[in-house]
Amino acid sequence: MGPNGSGKSTLAQVLAGRETYEVTRGEVLYEGKNLLEMAPEERACEGVFMAFQYPVEIPGVSSAQFLKAALNAIRRARGLEELDAMEFLALVKQKFKVLGVDEKLLHRSVNEGFSGGEKKRNEIFQMALLEPRLCILDETDSGLDIDALKIVASGVNGLRSPGRAILVITHYQRLLNYIIPDYVHVLVDGRIVRSGGKELALELEEKGYALIEGGAGAAAPGRR
């Protein structure tokens, strides 16, 4: 969590490998490997998944083609057999059921003409299909009504497992009523200024970021 402009989305984008950001120093170790040395698609194949704040529309490309290309790329990287069309469909249908996604989605162009809620739900669906080990949800709750929020949350909760880390970026404590976090970190001006359990989120809700920000300078001596 963190106020506007604190660098939450930047962190997500840098982890995913967005090339518009230049990392000047440091390294990002993920399962013993430096993520920064990998192309975005290699990171994805290593199990890094980012649910986009603004999922991108790709007109003309059906979700089925897109998902199959993604799934098989990742399976190849993991040394698994690629799925043929029939196997792919069977798998997708099974995942659809779990998440309550309409099968018609497969024939629609990727995110094209999707409502805000549909786009976010589609991100979670892709996450379920690709089975990443590090999931980064970049403000997935923004713009969702309460019903959509519940659906997204239950999708995320269904994916929680000891072998999978989930980093949820949000402004609002509201989401955390549905996704109970193990840890809450507060990011201010590019640094984690406080960490705590789920009660930290409640405190933030009550007091706002200003208070925490005030104490942040002192708490972080290394700060510029």
């Binding site: 790709i58 490309v61 897109f66």
Partner: protein, 480 residues
């Protein structure tokens, strides 16, 4: 420069995969064009006198006309006297494929068209044009049983004179345009196809053209006649070896569909596009036209144009018979310094005639892509309808897309629709794909194939697969 632009460029810059020259002794006429050249071609082909006369008339007309300049393509002046107008592999009498020069057969194998295998596996009859002379014709007997004639143009000019004489120039007259007129004078070979009344051709007919001899312009002539109630699907696919000089190519294709007949003509054009600096490449000036002569006749053009330095091509339909239908589905891709000026003309003459135009232009690198369309509804074409969809996709920021749609309506009952769009493959789209594990190249291919799918689904199955591969090869180096 952003990474996705780099990736697009890297994709586009892959070398031409099919660039090689076959070493076979060639019988080449000296460069130059005059009446003697035409007499030489005609005598090499043992043509009847009337055909020679027709060629000469075309040549004399050609001398009086000028090369067009209205198109949106630019190239240095072509030296028509510097071109050799005839090249044939050294003549041999062939009884079977075993006697075909093994070097030639290997060429076909490199192109992925082993004749024997095709015979056995695909059921596609192949009239293979190697430069100017047809060297092998298969499935002829099977087609002959149905009365279908499928042979080289040279053979038709001798064996089926009456048909050739009746239809040659009936759709594209020798006076039609500069390049068609040149073709009429010097065409060397091509295909002839005749489907008798009521016959549905049981297989896809295909021709593979290949330009091989250095500096030899190739001038094919194709003529397809579909008698009442007949159906035929014709495939044409091409690749050419890599070389530096520009090679001129000016083909003419004429289609005639009588009452209730249906002709489907599909092309994949993959001639050498020149290198990444725009050096070399084929100049492709083609005149293709179909005449829907009969009631309820139907002509459908589908083309995937990825090759050539210059593509100048407007497969068109003259919708003369009442209720006749014309279709044009096109994907044109220009990369590096390629230029394409392509589109169609739909001339509505008969009542209730319908036409559909779907054009997809893709520009990458410094490529320039022009759609040029003409839809004409003449006075008596009551109830005519046209639907035009014209989309452009840009990859990178140095390419261009241009659209020149001309619409002329002389009958107030006509219904016209025109849709157009221009889009660009965005960095955000590529990144989104990357984040799902898809490489830049694959992402571009996915997007491009999605963009083209309305055209690809008009292609015969095996061609559709080939077309997809071709697009991805042609775009190699375009993503940067």
């Amino acid at each position: 420069m952003s990474t996705s632009t780099n990736a697009i460029e890297a994709l586009v810059n892959r070398e031409y995969k099919w660039g090689f020259v076959t070493e076979i002794e060639q019988d080449v006429a000296p460069p130059g064009l005059n009446e003697d050249t035409i007499r030489l071609i005609s005598s090499k082909k043992n043509e009847p006198e009337w055909l020679l006369e027709w060629r000469l008339k075309a040549y004399r007309h050609w001398l009086t006309i000028k090369e067009p300049t209205w198109h949106n393509v630019h190239y240095p002046p072509i030296d028509y006297q510097g071109i050799s107008y005839y090249a044939a592999p050294k003549k041999k009498e062939l009884q079977s494929l075993d006697e075909v020069d093994p070097e030639l057969l290997r060429t076909y194998e490199k192109l992925g068209i082993p004749l024997e295998e095709q015979k056995m596996l695909t059921g596609v009859a192949v009239d293979a044009v190697f430069d100017s002379v047809s060297v092998a014709t298969t499935f002829k007997e099977k087609l002959a049983e149905l009365g279908i004639i499928f042979c080289s143009f040279s053979e038709a000019a001798q064996e089926h004179q009456e048909l050739v004489r009746k239809y040659l120039g009936s759709v594209v007259p020798y006076t039609d345009n500069f390049f068609a007129t040149l073709n009429s004078a010097v065409f060397t070979d091509g295909s002839f196809c005749y489907i008798p009344k009521g016959v549905r051709c049981p297989m896809e007919l295909s021709t593979y053209f290949r330009i091989n001899a250095a500096s030899t312009g190739q001038f094919e002539r194709t003529l397809i006649v579909a008698e009442p109630g007949s159906h035929v699907s014709y495939l044409e696919g091409c690749t050419a070896p890599m070389r530096d000089e520009n090679q001129l190519h000016a083909a003419v294709v004429e289609l005639i569909a009588h009452d209730d007949a249906r002709i489907k003509y599909s092309t994949i054009q993959n001639w050498y596009p020149g290198d990444k600096d725009g050096k070399g490449g084929i100049y492709n000036f083609v005149t293709k036209r179909g005449k829907c002569l009969g009631r309820n006749s139907h002509i459908s053009w589908t083309q995937v144009e990825t090759g050539s330095a210059i593509t100048w091509k407007y497969p068109s339909c003259m919708l003369i018979g009442d209720n006749s239908v014309g279709e044009f589905y096109s994907v044109a891709l220009t990369n590096n310094y390629q230029q394409a000026d392509t589109g169609t003309k739909m001339i509505h003459v008969g009542k209730n005639t319908r036409s559909t135009i779907v054009s997809k232009g893709i520009s990458a690198g410094h490529g320039q892509n022009t759609y040029r369309g003409g839809v004409k509804i003449l006075k008596n074409a009551t109830g005519a309808r046209n639907y035009t969809q014209c989309d452009s996709l840009l990859i990178g920021d140095k390419c261009g897309a241009h659209t020149f749609p001309y619409i002329e309506v002389k009958n107030s009952t006509a219904r016209m629709e025109h849709e157009a769009s221009t889009s660009k493959i965005g960095d955000d789209q590529i990144f989104y794909c990357n984040q799902r594990g898809i490489t830049k190249e694959d992402a571009v291919n996915l997007i491009v194939n999605g963009f083209c799918k309305e055209v690809f689904r008009e292609l015969p199955m095996e061609f559709a697969v080939e077309a997809q591969k071709l697009l991805s090869v042609s775009l190699e180096g375009s993503v940067g």
